[in-house]
Structures are given as structure tokens and as C-alpha cells.
Symmetry: C2
DNA sequence: CTTAATGCAAACCGTTTGCATAGAT
DNA sequence: ATCTATGCAAACGGTTTGCATTAAG
């Protein structure tokens, strides 16, 4: 399955790339910094260097497999590019990331780009706040 | 005038702080990276180090005088915090930054935060694209 | 006179790169 | 057999910090 993905985009099938693909497809945490991903793999017993993690993420990004996000003041995080664009809610306390889509916002963004005569290539909306669990504690 | 601002927030009146306030209040370019701001001041003949530029921007940020933005893949930029929140259009070719506000987007963002039970503390919307002048050349 | 602010250079940290080796086709 | 991918360590670039000096109140 992951082999297919690599073949399709023309990358050689190597263990680091397979492991990173697997990690990205996990449910639960969809957003991985290079460091967290590296630690996760090392804990799994995968012999991989942080440099390779960066290289693979960067390749995947260039091939459109993942998206890179630089949330304010934080290291970069990578997530699977699911093609359907979505925006993010980030908890400033615990780092929890939620995703959402709002058609109205999407529409208005396009309108704004047109108003300023920008040919829109991408857009990023991040709402920062404190999630419910963090507010309770 | 700038002295007043510093006094009001409880900072000593020093030349670097005055010069940086002046620079931030200029019309035209509203978004300054530390490096650009430093170069600008040095060219003006102001004797200031890059470390001080960072320190002043950071202080101003903590006091609510400026906002820091980390546009994707770029160094941080600082702008006057005009209290009326606004969003950004960034040209991926030349770096031009335009500002806009869309009440509908603001409203929907609040709705999204509520939907996920986040106590919103901030939000950043950046539209990346190619500006009209860049498209022509 | 006292304490904060500054410039300089060194440290820092996330990320990238050079290079020799291991591995995929 | 060829050429790419990898691990390691060193380099990099933006940002921060330690420290001795200067300046504000």
C-alpha cells in the first residue's frame, strides 16, 4: 500500500520513507514536527536520522504528499495533504490541533484575493485559543 | 510624541526605542523584519545593534505595541498593533504585504472557535498569491 | 548614584548540507 | 553495476543571551 504511493510519485522504496508514510497515515495525531516524528520512529526501533526525516518531509512536500505549517513561534509541523483544504485551531496551552472547514470563509478569501488582484496560490488560517480540557485544569 | 508612548507603557526613553517607534509609524512599509529594520537604522546613521532591535521588538510585542507575524518559511516581521485586527495578503514573488478586514470572516472564525469550544486568543489569516505587478513581469 | 539598556560576540536551536557508506533497482 | 538514499557531524541563519560598558532617571 505505502509502496504504491512511493512508486506513483517516483520515489525509491526505502524504509525511512515507508515508516514516515505509515506514521502520517495514523489516526489521532495528524500533525508531526520533524523532531517528534524522529523520536517516535527511534522509539519504534527504526534506525533513522533527523536529517532523513527532514529530507523525506521536504520531498513529500514538494511532491504534494504533505503540507508544511509554521504555526506562530513554533517549529514546523507536517501533515498529510488530503487535497481538501482545511484550516486549524491550535491550543496555545497544550498544542492540540483541530481542523475545520468553513465554506463561507473560503469564499470570502477568494473574494479578498480578487479585490486586491492577487492570484491566490495558498492560504492559511489559524485560530489560536485555549481548548476545553485546558480551560478546566 | 514617541516619548509619550514610551512613558505610557513604562519604558525608559532611549534612542533605539525612539528610532524604532518612528520607523514603525512611517507610512508605506508597515511590516519590518528585524534585519531590515536594523539595516534601515544603520543607514540612517543610528548606532544600534541587531540584538537591540530584537529586544525592542520583543518588548513592544509584550506590551501590545506591535504584533509579530511568522509568514510561512520566512523570517518574522513586526508591525504596529493598531488594535483593529486585520489579515494579510502576501505576494510570494516580491514579498509585498497588503492588509484587509472582512467582517464576515471574523464572524465565522468566532463561530468556529465556539463550535470546537476554544477560547479564542488570537487568529491569523494569510492569503498567499502573486500580486498584479508581479504577474505582469 | 542606582539600575536598566546597549553593543558585541558567543550561544542557541531548528533546519540543511557535505561526505563517505549502505542500499535500491 | 549504477546511482540514489542514508547517517553522521558540521554548517547555516535567524534569534537570544551573557557580560562588560554606557546611559536614563
Amino acid at each position: 500500500m505505502y509502496e504504491k504511493i512511493l512508486q506513483k510519485v517516483g520515489l525509491k522504496i526505502t524504509n525511512p520513507r515507508l515508516e514516515i508514510l505509515k506514521l502520517l497515515h495514523q489516526q489521532g495525531s495528524h500533525h508531526w514536527s520533524a523532531e517528534i516524528a524522529h523520536q517516535y520512529l527511534v522509539d519504534l526501533g527504526v534506525d533513522v536520522g533527523i536529517a532523513t526525516v527532514y529530507r523525506v518531509f521536504t520531498q513529500f512536500e514538494m511532491l504534494g504528499l504533505v503540507k508544511r505549517h509554521s504555526f506562530e513561534g513554533d517549529r514546523s509541523v507536517f501533515e498529510l495533504n488530503d487535497l481538501e483544504h482545511h484550516d486549524h485551531l491550535v491550543c496555545v496551552e497544550c498544542g492540540l490541533v483541530e481542523e475545520f472547514v468553513d465554506p463561507l470563509i473560503e469564499e470570502r478569501q477568494l473574494a479578498m484575493a480578487q479585490k486586491f488582484q492577487f492570484a491566490m496560490t495558498d492560504h492559511r488560517l489559524v485560530i489560536y485559543g485555549v481548548c476545553a480540557p485546558c480551560r478546566k485544569s
